[in-house]
Point group: C2
Chain length 330, copies 2
């Protein structure tokens, strides 16, 4: 039986407020119309949600895994797919019925792209986050090598991930400019039309990128909510109070229903004490009876979604649909 | 094509060393033979691994979710299933073709068990961990109420989860004794044959429990490895180095392949800097080339397993089987 009301959902349930989600999607599309935004699907891992983004005019997508690339291609969303990640075996990419671009930052990843049958690449440049990406001065020579291998070099990418969470907007803007100066320099050496960068935290202060790879803006989380962006948290885990003691209550959603790398989730009007595998222990300002429903707001949306099979869509108290989380795994 | 060698596994891959796993299983079975151990499946979420535990003589299992109960029953492992958790809707339990016992700690959970068609219960007692469980003095009256509802009360359970990770063995023993004194007192009021408690950290110091609910001992993790128990870490995430910079390297497994609530994972001979969604950045003592395989040891096994579809079994460098992680979700 399909649940029709929020109160009928089995708990724990991952729930998105459809009206807030759609408002977030529209707000971003207004700021970054069409190809100015290349939505990152790693945050929601749902082709159904990607379809909503495509309907707003964003036909290019960013992915972090081969599975995400394959799923979007199979769903007919393969107009322009970027794997913003390095791979050492690109054969699954070469087989896709889609326009495929992959990031490379070294000779081995270049050779893997060519050997796997991929035709287009971006040079991934390290702009300050200690992760993937070549040194800015290595970008030009790597692009030359890629072209010698017969690859088409569309441009550069460089993710300012060390910057996107800086709370102060002025400091975030300055740090973004510094990171993007490195990317612009690399781009001058590499050429091509694309400068792909950015995230939800820098979507409107990154003025160098030709396209922004934001993903979290659609569903949001308590970490990003602190930045004062025009996107509101739309995703929560619905849980029920299964046990009550004198000074705390226990809800039936725990650390296997929530990404914990950014710390504890939040419950309005309550202090979260800790999460166990299947429980969250919290102290509520108002006394809650066994059976009460609570909304638990995740600190980090991406690893939260990856634990669930679906996102229920609600409008007020009505269940109005569901988004299968069909891009999990690798 | 089924991989035959460790080096052929696509990364990230969740891998268990079969020989270490089996040694862990045998060591626990020797210490707690047959019904003295009620393995907790929440740690591995795999009916195939539960089957190995059953083959060693453990025919009763502990579960944390309805899905785990349903999966074990469907797999023919339903001789004696305990849901060591409170539920407010027990109808899925009442339908199982299995012997089903559920924990209750309040009138509403009692009524849910009876209404759902469950016939046997344990009274869940709070022994110090702020989570589920009634106060010790409330256990007897709740058992009486359950019997008035026609339920069979098999005894008590009480998990000393605040104790299982105490590093010093003498202190852990003392704290376990204090917690179990509360449970023994409740048991005297409740009656029944079962005193179910314990975990991997207290499996040999808990002398009150008639059965121990250990789960982590099979696969282990870096958190439990610090306790000096006779179980060795058998579970790692195999990853490949996809990018190398002057002072760090980046492997292709991140916080969506690892449970992060106990902190960063470990890499032998290296310092882990941080995990991103699909990457772990680390500094290695030995220089690693792009393409090198690394073993990433999770800090917490339970939420790590819950991100994966299967556990590959290896013996040395050979892939010798796989354990589907078929009990995920709720």
């Amino acid at each position: 039986m399909t649940p029709r009301r929020l109160a009928e959902l089995p708990t724990p349930a991952l729930v998105a407020d459809r009206d807030l989600l759609d408002a977030n999607l529209r707000a971003m599309s207004a700021a970054l119309p069409g190809p100015r935004l290349r939505p990152h699907v790693k945050a929601h891992k749902s082709t159904a949600l990607a379809r909503r983004q495509a309907a707003l005019g964003h036909r290019g997508f960013t992915c972090a895994t081969l599975r995400e690339m394959e799923g979007l291609a199979a769903a007919g969303l393969g107009d322009d797919l970027l794997l913003a990640n390095e791979v050492l075996d690109a054969r699954r990419l070469g087989r896709l019925d889609a326009r495929v671009t992959v990031a490379i930052d070294s000779e081995p990843t270049l050779e893997a792209a060519a050997a796997g049958g991929v035709r287009e690449v971006l040079i991934d440049v390290n702009v300050g986050l200690p992760r993937c990406g070549c040194a800015p001065e290595a970008a030009g020579p790597l692009a030359d090598a890629a072209r010698r291998h017969g690859l088409s070099v569309r441009g550069v990418m460089g993710y300012e991930g060390h910057v996107v969470g800086v709370p102060d907007r002025a400091k975030r803007t300055l740090a973004t400019e510094q990171a993007m100066a490195l990317l612009a320099k690399a781009h001058a050496d590499v050429g091509g039309e694309v400068i792909s960068a950015g995230g939800t935290g820098t979507y409107d202060v990154n003025r160098v990128a030709t396209e922004i790879q934001a993903g979290s803006y659609a569903l949001m989380d308590t970490a990003y909510a602190k930045l004062g962006l025009p996107f509101r948290p739309a995703l929560f885990v619905l849980a029920r109070v299964v046990s009550v003691s004198r000074d705390f209550a226990v809800a039936d959603a725990g650390l296997k229903a929530l990404g914990m790398d950014h710390g504890n989730p939040a419950i309005e009007g309550a202090t979260v004490w800790f999460c166990s595998d299947e429980h969250t222990t919290f102290a509520s300002e108002a006394a809650l009876p066994v059976g009460a429903r609570v909304r638990i707001w995740p600190a980090h949306v991406d690893p939260t979604v990856a634990y669930h099979e679906r996102i229920w869509l609600v409008s007020g108290e009505d269940v109005v649909g569901e988004l299968p989380v069909d891009l999990r795994g690798w």
